[in-house]
Amino acid sequence: MSIFNSWPGATSSYEGVDAYFTSADSEGTLIFWTLVSIAILIFTTWSAAKHESETDKNTK
């Protein structure tokens, strides 16, 4: 089966489609979004830890 909705570009047909999501035919793009997701999780955790350390100092 072919892959739907290649990146960049609009949907052309549902005919013979299996994977139907954005960028499904571009593994590099999927890896890119995966890395962005990981970066968001790491940044948020680091940011929360930083806020906690500042609270520690400010509460003394």
């Binding site: 139907y20 999927l30 509460t59």
Partner: protein, 433 residues
């Protein structure tokens, strides 16, 4: 209608209804998290109630993407031990299998149900550490538990090809060991390093009760957890005849190992175990409603390993025993280790989980495996499973939290605890009355 049309219709209906079942069970499991949030907020003192709730919300939010990133892959790839199977990319986040496929309606909803199982393990851990763990540290540890440790245990003992199942006949259909033991003993490992809340212990070693600010929240929360567990347990069953598992000849539900099961067996034994646990804890605690509700949960976990096969009367007895033992177990853990487990999570999940796994070996020894590849249930097999689940939970929980403690990244400093975490960190208060 031609035979081909009828066949196409039946296949389409079967796949779509199966998909719908897991979708609805996933939604129902959200009630577990509503329940844990309410329970822990109620069990926290007013000055820390908001931060306790934030912790629960973040556990939920972080578990979902991390389970997508690596949790699901770990479950699928490690049934044979610590070396991953070659799945040709299946299950890694940049593979098309981890997005919507028209040829595969089920992976997405299975992933969703397992994600909510993972969130449940994190919520179990969450209650044990309220009022003194740093939120960022909690998130990291929750991800370790829910998207790594639990998945390994599930891959080994909650998978038709897991080594505990195929070599030892380990039988744990509703996850007494795989979820509750791992989460409970992971929590124990962490609280050994985290230390008690300020004011919990006196210098002479005697213990003070630090009462939560609103018992009503805890009551409703515990009941909500029970509501959500019907979703959890419903999602533990495999829809009849799913072609992907080559079970076309089976006309009823199967449990996760592939043997026939029914929703009725789950309904009988969940309710009977719940009632037994409540009554046992009611008697043991001399009417303490907090323990009575926790006993209800422990009663369900006491029956969880054999939820597919228990006689309901036996399930009631197992639940009663579970409800009774968690109270002295909780007292003993506090007395010996001087830990602080404000909601009794280690006893309710860790100890009742042990009882549930071993009860299977005591009362259902010789029960046949689902196929020739799976040995019959034995006490030895359940005991090996028990040790394994304890290790998968306790060792990483203790080891990683020890390193975090050395780094100064685990505990809210005592002066911040005394000031109140809500005010100091969030600038909020739980209520205005």
């Amino acid at each position: 209608m031609t035979l081909e049309q009828l066949s196409s219709y039946v296949i389409a209906q079967s796949a779509t209804v199966a998909e719908g079942w897991y979708y609805i069970m996933t939604g129902l499991m959200v009630a577990i998290h509503v329940g844990f949030l309410m329970y822990e907020v109620g069990a926290s003192r007013m000055q820390n109630a908001v931060s306790s709730g934030v912790k629960n919300l973040l556990a939920f939010a972080f578990m979902i993407p991390t389970f997508w990133l690596f949790g699901w892959y770990i479950y699928l790839a490690f049934p044979h031990g610590l070396v991953p199977m070659d799945m040709e990319g299946y299950g890694v986040p940049w593979n098309v299998s981890m997005g919507p496929m028209l040829s595969d309606q089920l992976t997405g909803v299975f992933w969703a149900a397992f994600t909510l199982f993972a969130c449940t393990t994190a919520s179990v851990f969450s209650g044990a550490v309220i009022e003194r763990i740093r939120i960022s540290s909690f998130v990291f540890l929750a991800v370790l538990l829910g998207s790594v440790c639990w998945n390994l245990g599930a891959s080994w003992g909650w998978h038709f090809d897991g080594w505990l199942v195929t070599k030892f006949g380990y039988h744990d259909v509703a996850a007494a060991g795989v979820v509750h033991m791992i989460a409970g003993w992971f929590a124990f490992g962490v609280i050994l390093n985290l230390g008690p809340r300020v004011g919990r212990y006196n210098d002479d070693g005697s213990m003070n009760e630090l009462e939560g600010h609103d018992l009503r929240f805890s009551f409703v929360g515990l009941l909500m957890i029970i509501v959500g567990f019907f979703g959890f347990l419903g999602a533990c069953l495999i829809w009849p005849g799913l072609p992907a598992l080559d079970m076309q000849e089976v006309t009823t539900w199967t449990q996760i190992y592939g043997a026939p099961a029914t929703l009725s067996s789950f309904a009988y034994n969940t309710l009977m175990g719940l009632a037994g646990g409540m009554i046992g804890a009611f008697w043991m605690s001399k009417g303490n409603p907090f323990w009575m509700m926790s006993g209800g949960l422990a009663g369900i976990f006491s029956c969880a390993s054999g939820l597919d096969i228990w006689y309901p009367g036996l399930a009631f007895v197992l639940g009663t025993v579970g409800g009774i033992i968690i109270i002295p177990a909780n007292d003993l853990l506090h007395k010996i280790f001087k830990v602080d487990d404000p909601v009794g999570a280690v006893a309710v999940h860790g100890v009742a989980g042990i009882w549930g796994v071993l009860a299977m070996g005591i009362f259902a020894s010789g029960y046949p495996g689902a196929s020739d590849a799976i040995p019959a249930v034995s006490f030895y097999g359940q005991f090996v499973g028990c040790i394994t689940m304890f290790a998968v939970g306790f060792i990483p929980g203790y080891g990683v939290s020890f390193v975090m403690k050395m780094m100064g990244w685990l505990r809210v400093p005592d002066h911040v605890q005394q000031a109140g975490i809500d005010k100091a960190e969030l600038g909020l208060r739980a209520t205005n009355y």
